[in-house]
């Protein structure tokens, strides 16, 4: 299979409007991934599927990821008036980088037996603009996996024929796999509470909580 930069060049030529970016993988020996914007995701996937050199016809895995809003601190050099004269000072700025939901696709090719090609798409934020195109028109294997991601992360896949909750019941309000999800459970009988469990059961076990 061609390398990811080569592929990116080819894709950029084919879809000039698409925004493509290579996301490096920190783990050595594992493939980097290709980030595609949501608008051209479906077209790019169609290219990957039908291109003669790639023939990535097997969408193996669809994963949802939740990246929380991050507070980034950065040092900025700013000019300030200090005692009548202008000096340059370091100022620490706190900036909130909006989080996003990400969907990662792993493609393989059954006739050419290569892969995986890792494609990612990101939503604009985690709250209201969580739309991504559905790959179900191209790959049926995405059907349940996208439903699962909709269920557990709240990504709305446009073009999915049957976007309902997969694992939780109808009428469930939350998206439990999100990092900030807080479960409703009451641990009123926990004989061995400690650590994360004790945090949850703190109301019932004040004494244990005290001596930690």
């Amino acid at each position: 299979m061609e390398t990811l930069p080569q592929l990116k060049t080819r894709l950029a030529a084919a879809f000039p409007k698409a925004r493509l970016e290579i996301v490096p993988n920190g783990s050595p020996g594992n493939p980097d991934s290709l980030w595609v914007d949501a608008a051209s995701g479906l077209k790019v996937a169609g290219f990957l599927k039908n291109d003669a050199a790639l023939q990535l016809d097997f969408l193996s895995n669809v994963t949802g990821l939740d990246w929380l809003d991050k507070t980034v601190t950065e040092k900025v050099r700013v000019k300030r008036e200090f005692k009548g004269q202008e000096i340059e000072v370091d100022e620490i700025l706190e900036k909130i980088v909006p989080g996003y939901l990400e969907v990662v696709y792993h493609f393989y090719s059954t006739p050419l037996r290569h892969g995986p090609l890792v494609l990612r798409m990101r939503t604009e934020n985690r709250t209201d603009r969580t739309h991504l195109p559905s790959l179900v028109p191209l790959y049926r294997s995405a059907e349940f996996q996208e439903r699962e991601i909709y269920d557990l992360y709240g990504v709305i896949f446009d073009g999915h024929p049957d976007l309902r909750r997969l694992l939780m019941w109808e009428g469930f309000a939350d998206h439990p796999m999100r990092k900030d999800y807080c479960e409703p459970d009451d641990y009123e009988y926990e004989p061995t509470p400690h650590g994360a469990l004790l945090e949850k059961a703190r109301r019932h076990y004040p004494r244990e909580a005290a001596h930690g």
């Binding site: 009988y189 004989p191 061995t192 509470p193 400690h194 650590g195 994360a196 469990l197 001596h211």
Partner: protein, 192 residues
């Protein structure tokens, strides 16, 4: 000829039917309460605490809480003993294992640096008592090293040897700290 496959199948079941009367390979039932299968040495069910000598004072556990931290379902609860001044002692005052949660994964055994927690082979623990019968406290958990030898002879012997070596090394170290020269000589002597 149609029907032949069915007859072949019938022949096979008939063979098993008659075989069950004379062929032990075709009568595999172990009639449980009367006959019990010998467990393999590696078989594990729930954890227990090993003690040497005295069931309370001889516990190997030093209350380091590593197992508590590493236990995947968090079913271990340890409170270390304190002396009068509030200093923590290397001994568990409370050591509870909730067997209603324990999944017998053996990770506590693997991470224990003191070989004090081991896996039992007792599995006949079903009870009608939800709250009383399923929490094993320190006294219920403590089992002797002899028992450990009984259920896992090979492993227990290896552990004993390792502990003995460890103790010797500790003693040698302590002796070395007291008077360097003779201890060094002692270690030299031990070498073959």
């Amino acid at each position: 000829m149609p029907g032949f496959g069915i007859i072949k199948g019938l022949k096979e079941t008939a063979r098993n039917f008659f075989g069950s009367y004379h062929d032990p390979g075709r009568f595999v039932t172990i009639q449980y309460p009367e006959e019990k299968r010998e467990h393999h040495e590696n078989y594990r069910s729930f954890p227990f605490l090993v003690y040497d000598g005295d069931p309370v004072k001889g516990l190997r556990c030093v209350s380091c809480k590593i197992c508590e931290k590493e236990c995947p379902p968090q079913c271990i609860y340890i409170v270390p003993e304190q002396d009068g001044s509030g200093k923590l002692l290397k001994f568990p005052r409370i050591f509870d294992i909730d067997v209603s949660v324990c999944m017998g994964c053996q990770i506590c055994v693997e991470v224990c640096p003191f070989d004090s927690i081991k896996m039992d082979q007792e599995f006949e623990v079903s009870t009608a008592d939800r709250f009383g019968g399923l929490i094993l406290n320190r006294s219920k958990l403590a089992k002797s090293n002899e028992y450990y030898h009984q259920i896992r002879p090979a492993e227990a012997t290896a552990v004993d040897a390792q502990l003995a070596a460890e103790r010797e090394r500790q003693q040698a170290k302590a002796a070395a700290a007291k008077s360097p020269a003779p201890a060094a000589a002692a270690t030299r002597e031990k070498k073959p």
